[in-house]
């Protein structure tokens, strides 16, 4: 089924590239959702149903919408006059290329040592739930607290001016 994998990988990467390259910020955000959707499908390919659906729910349902809202609130959809790329974009590109080269080299180097194909694991939601409540209960609680704090923090940060004005 590697054919499906290639399509999905191409979709994801094309989405990501578009998200980084396009001029119009809203188009970038929409391309980003394509990348997210591709990733979710890749997760499904990897038999991680739960993670895949969570990816769609959180990234497409929430993060993408947040990004879009932020773009509209900051009038980011108007293409700026002096280019969309930073002054030192070349340096950034070089660093990114370097990182990719290093990562790719590392991956290709370790190909022989990589684990072999295994049978698809049968993971039910029940198991995930049980794991969350037993083994991973501490991280779960921490994430819960973190999310609450992030929620409050985001509200305070964004509301800052309004409170002052009153």
């Amino acid at each position: 089924m590697s054919f499906v994998f290639y399509i999905l990988a191409a979709l994801t990467l094309a989405g990501a590239l578009a998200a980084v390259l396009l001029k119009n910020t809203v188009h970038c955000a929409l391309a980003l959702t394509v990348a997210f959707a591709g990733l979710a499908f890749l997760f499904l390919q990897l038999d991680a149903q739960f993670a895949g659906f969570a990816q769609v729910l959180v990234y497409i349902g929430a993060v993408a919408i947040l990004v879009v809202f932020a773009i509209l609130l900051t009038r980011g959809s108007e293409t700026p006059k002096d280019g969309v790329y930073s002054r030192n974009w070349l340096a950034g590109l070089v660093i990114a290329a370097g990182v990719f080269a290093a990562l790719g080299w590392a991956v290709l180097q370790s190909v022989p040592g990589l684990p072999h194909e295994t049978a698809a694991p049968q993971v039910s939601v029940l198991q995930i739930g049980n794991a969350l409540m037993t083994r991973y209960v501490l991280p779960l609680e921490i994430v819960a607290v973190l999310l609450t704090l992030a929620l409050i923090g985001a509200v305070i940060v964004a509301m800052h001016q309004k409170v002052e004005a009153q």
Partner: protein, 103 residues
Amino acid sequence: MTPLVGYLLVAALLFAIGLAGALTRRNAILVLIGIELMLNAANLNLIAFWRYGPHPELLTGMMFAIFSIAVAAAEAAVGLGLVISIHRHAHTTDLDAMNRMKG
């Protein structure tokens, strides 16, 4: 099935694209988009390793990915809140223009 290396290479490329985006774009929101992409690349790695790892029934990689998704949501919320706040203050989201610590 696709071998693990395929997923790892896709993740590496995605990470690099995200990094390039974060480093080269002017708009703060697009920088955040780049960071999201990098996080997603990490998630892909986690899931791939979980799938091909020796003990998928322990769910370690999957859990990591799920927690990472949750944290990413928080990061996005706070990050975008900051961007909006900065925009209120400086009336721009251009990172090159935000070169002063004083408003």
